[in-house]
Amino acid sequence: MIAQPFEYHVPKTLAEASQLVAQFGAEGKILAGGHSLVPMMKLRLASPKHLIDIGRIADLSYVREEDGKIQIGALTTHYNIESSELLKSKCPLLPETAREIGDAQVRNKGTIGGSLAHSDPAGDWPTAVLALDAEVQALGTGTERWISAKDFFVGLLETSLAPGEILTAIRVPSLPARSGDAYVKLRQPASGFAIVGVAVRLGLDEKGAIQHVSVGITGVGPKAYRAAAVEGALSGKSPSAKRLAEASEHAAEGIDVNSDLYASATYRAHLASVYTRRALEKALDRASGK
């Protein structure tokens, strides 16, 4: 369990970091909390020649509210999100998701930015940022852009970050009135990753019909995705147990469903439906103030 040799760089500023990232290109890898990358390096599944540790850069760990939106620094740990009072009141889906990640040690070290940039097909964060229509900030040498969550996840361990770009922040809208969020997950018993994880944000109009619903699903396909067919079946409709259940049947529609030791594709697709329904029910209860 010893990694291959690498050079270790500790930039003090973001500018310095992005210069290193640009300089080393494919031979470099950014280290944040290290909870995905370091195990891969120890198993020699990843062997970057240059490790750029951004962990010492000040001001990348924060949760703050700006112009009605919540911004979270890339180096904010899962634990800091889980325990953030601001998030608990303004965007409870994030603390609820954070609580489901790994174990206490992982949550104390792992970061939201690192997790998103890694784009693990069974990671928890992608579901929340998808369901929240979040945006991800990418900083290149002299460039800065915001990528919407739905464009961010490209494939297995692959994002739309360009070479040389560093993920620096996440921006999410706060929870509107008459809305509810939920994250539910079936853990793979060894790794704690999601066999299926479903995040939902659901908003009701004044008459109690579903005005908005977004469903992010992880663990089921090669990357986390928005369950458009589920959303389509509910949008504008008045919610009922039957309707939620029927809509949930579409949870894995069009997805090339994963199969492994813990769940075959058939069973996983079934779980996706069950957990989607459970997340919808929970979010609806919360939106209705139950």
Partner: protein
């Protein structure tokens, strides 16, 4: 006796240093000039090695030596197997593969370098050319004619066949009133996964021609003998030191090839060589446990009384024998009757070679398999005859008056009261109330399961006649000049807490403070002889040796005390640091007698100076702890997810010396036994690749998956040793697995489900329930 220590919840002497990180494990030991070793291992399950090129590895700066199978051939002995059954086939098992590899992870070459990082990089530079052969991974297919043969010299893949036949099967088979229940059970392969992986430092001194080995082992004395034989160093100049050991669960009851290579390398280089196993290596190349296929037939009367049992045990031994590999499944046959004196028995055990890591002793070692077979069978009997599982067990229990009870399997159970533990556990769980709740919930579409297991196990191993390397244990008690007491034990506990238990025994016997007793173990230069720690023997056998040594010390001190007091030597008591007459009228200080014994100014005639007594205890029999476990589970019909809601157990391990340590052993054992029922499984694919080779894939239980364990005990003292203690290291593991599986099967009963193999993953349950409810 005023110094009441036995039976008390005394905190562990070991814990302050362990909890504060001040203890020393093998990897904490650093020697001058020490080199580091890393192994290159096979990536094929079955292949001929056509070439091993070490040129690039040798050229890497910092590399001191690279050894291959060819380098050790004829110079380093084979990995030993101590099992000695008739007709056993033992394939040559070199420490480094020479011309063939038989499992993934088999060591092919060893790199020795100035640090372990260089050694690791160099191991990747070793080029091995393989000529792949078809892998044999399924033990049943390995038995088929036409299967590829792993060890060509034997002609087939059968390592041994053992038969156990008793009773009169003509009578049984002619009895048409008997119901025959058949079932195949699979006892899946597990990984022991001790917190500390294996590790060894070998240090050969060319000047003195001595070999000192630090190893994370359960058997320092046996290891010393074997490494001396393998490396060719005189045994009297060989020493094994066992520092702190971070668990083993049987996996360190072994002699491994890596230990041999470390000795070889140190002897070649004249420098200390350290090897520390990585977790992935630990999963691949430390022994595995269980792995049996059991075809069972039960012959039962209409009233639920079982009269006959037939079983074919096919044991997947892996590619080579480790120290006790073939012996483990024979323990399954020995204990297959469980708590029931079934008259007619026919058990055949077949040990089979496959292209996998060797199986060997893992917590319970053969008895969890036996308990699983017989306790699942009892539930199948109840199920088929529509009887209550508790009632079926009661019906088949022997009476407490029947003990000692000789069984057709050839063992004699010492003493037990199975009725009592069963009754207690049913009461603790409010059994009849639970059954009513189950009925209520079923009507609401919720599936509660109640599962029982009443087990007996074989412990305190054991009589030397039945043990390959002897079954005695040695203990020494030495009173120092200052009155402090040194205890040496040949048993070598690896975390269980006998430094505490043994000190309790000696302090109570000598009537001195607990803190005045220090226990040492695990250094073959300090400890004259020893067998080791396994088979729940450490307290029952090792503790008895120490107890007996303490008796001899008392006898000698009493003679000296009587001489000093001017009275006849008789029944003197050792109380509160004094040695006194029964009426307390005459007494002398413990320290005063110690001074006399050692300074020897006025010793009575015929008494030798000194207070050191060495005892070897030879147990006349095994002990047979028993108990009753009850698991309450909830199964979600929609997804097959299982929640273990409650767990009750009543264990009887004979006399309890320290209830806190008993609780600890039971809790840990439960976690492992429940782990097998619900989560754990080592999976090899058809190419012999280990699919669950990391803790991201192999589902080791976590604390949050368990409810609070409701544990309690009855105490039926064994007559086998003067302590009355039976042993408790494995009871939790042995008793719990069938309780949980029986519970889940009970939950699924409305769906007409009879049996599902472990681990009970949600998908399997979901599939079984897909057919919907069955009205019976």
């Amino acid at each position: 006796m005023s110094t009441k220590l036995l039976g008390e919840r005394i905190k562990r002497k070991e814990d302050p240093r362990l909890i504060q990180g001040r203890a020393h494990y093998v990897d904490d030991i650093k020697l001058d000039g020490m080199l580091h070793m890393v192994f290159a291992r096979s990536v094929y399950a079955h292949a001929r090695i056509t070439k091993v090129d070490t040129t690039a590895a040798r050229a890497l700066p910092g590399v001191v030596a690279v050894y291959t199978g060819q380098d050790i051939k004829g110079k380093l002995g084979l990995v030993p197997c101590a099992a000695g059954m008739e007709g056993l086939k033992i394939p040559d098992h070199p420490c480094l593969a020479i011309d063939k590899v038989c499992y993934i992870g088999e060591p092919i070459a060893a790199v020795v370098a100035r640090d372990r990082y260089v050694a690791r990089d160099a191991a990747d530079l070793i080029e091995v050319n393989y000529d792949p052969l078809p892998a044999v991974t399924d033990p049943l297919k390995a038995l088929e004619k036409g299967s590829n043969v792993i060890h060509e010299e034997f002609g087939d893949n059968v390592a041994f066949v053992a038969k156990l036949d008793a009773g009169d099967w003509k009578v049984v088979e002619a009895d048409s009133t008997l119901k025959v229940i058949k079932q195949r059970f699979i006892n899946q392969r597990l990984a022991p996964i001790s917190m500390e992986t294996r590790g060894v430092i070998a240090s050969y001194s060319p000047g003195e021609d001595t070999l000192t080995v630090w190893s994370s082992t359960q058997i320092p004395h046996i290891l010393k003998t074997q490494l001396a034989l393998m490396s060719g160093v005189d045994e009297a100049r060989s020493r094994v030191i066992t520092p702190e050991v971070g668990g083993g669960f049987g996996s360190k009851l072994n002699v491994y090839g890596e230990e041999g290579v470390a000795c070889f390398a140190s002897k070649q280089l004249g420098k200390p060589v350290k090897w520390i196993e990585g977790r992935r290596e630990n999963m691949l190349a430390t022994i595995h446990g269980r792995d049996q296929v059991n075809d069972l037939e039960i012959y039962v009367q209409p009233d639920g009384k079982v009269v006959g049992l037939k079983c074919l045990i096919v044991a997947d031994l892996g590619a080579y024998h480790q120290l006790l590999t073939p012996a483990i499944p024979t323990l399954t046959a020995l204990m297959i009757l469980g708590c029931y004196n079934i008259k007619h028995v026919d058990v055949e055990t077949k040990g089979v070679f496959t292209n996998k890591m060797a199986t060997d002793a893992y917590r319970g070692a053969g008895r969890p398999e036996a308990t699983y077979i017989i306790e699942r069978a009892m539930d199948l009997v109840a199920h088929e005859l529509k009887l209550d599982p508790a009632e079926v067990r009661e019906k088949n229990f022997p009476s407490p008056k029947d003990f000692p009870l000789a069984l057709p399997t050839g063992v004699t159970y010492d003493t037990a009261n199975y009725q009592k533990t069963l009754k207690r556990v049913l009461k603790a769980a409010s059994y009849s109330k639970l059954r009513k709740e189950q009925e209520r919930l079923r009507k609401k579409g919720k599936y509660l399961g109640i599962g029982l297991s009443t087990y007996v196990e074989i412990c305190a191993m054991g009589p030397s006649s039945r043990m390959p390397a002897g079954g005695w244990e040695a203990g020494t008690v030495r009173v120092e000049v200052t009155g402090k007491v040194t205890v040496l034990s040949g048993a070598s506990p690896h975390g269980q807490g006998e430094e505490t238990t043994f000190a309790q025994i000696v302090a109570e016997e000598l009537g001195i403070p607990f803190d005045d007793v220090t226990v040492y173990h695990g250094d073959t230069f300090q400890i004259p002889m020893g067998i080791g720690t396994f088979g729940s023997r450490t307290t029952a056998v090792g503790g008895t040796a120490i107890y007996n040594a303490a008796q001899r010390i008392k006898k000698k001190m009493a003679r000296i005390a009587a001489h000093k007091l001017g009275i006849k030597p008789g029944a003197l008591q050792f109380v509160d640091g004094k040695i006194q007459t029964a009426d307390g009228q005459k007494s002398i200080g413990f320290g005063e007698v110690v001074a006399e014994a050692i300074f020897a100014k006025q010793l009575p005639p015929g008494i030798e100076p000194g207070l050191t007594e060495h005892c070897v205890f030879e147990p006349p029999n095994y002990t047979f702890p028993f108990g009753a476990h009850l698991a309450v589970t909830e199964v979600e019909a929609e997804t097959g997810e299982v929640r273990l809601r409650d767990y009750f157990c009543v264990d009887d391990c004979g006399r309890i010396l320290n209830p806190m340590l008993v609780d600890g052993q039971v809790h840990g054992g439960l976690a492992q036994g429940i782990g097998q029922a619900l989560w754990e499984e080592l999976v090899y694919d058809e190419n012999g690749q280990l699919v669950t080779g990391s803790l991201m894939d192999y589902a080791l239980p976590r604390a949050h998956q368990f409810p609070w364990f409701n544990t309690s005990n009855t105490e039926t003292r064994t007559p086998v040793n003067p302590l009355g203690a039976k042993g408790v290291g494995e009871a939790g593991t042995i008793g719990s697995t069938p309780a949980v599986v029986n519970s889940v099967m009970d939950a699924l009963r409305p769906f007409g489900v009879r049996h599902i193999d472990m681990p009970l993953k949600p998908e399997k349950l979901w599939n079984a329930m897909k057919g919907g409810l069955k009205t019976s």
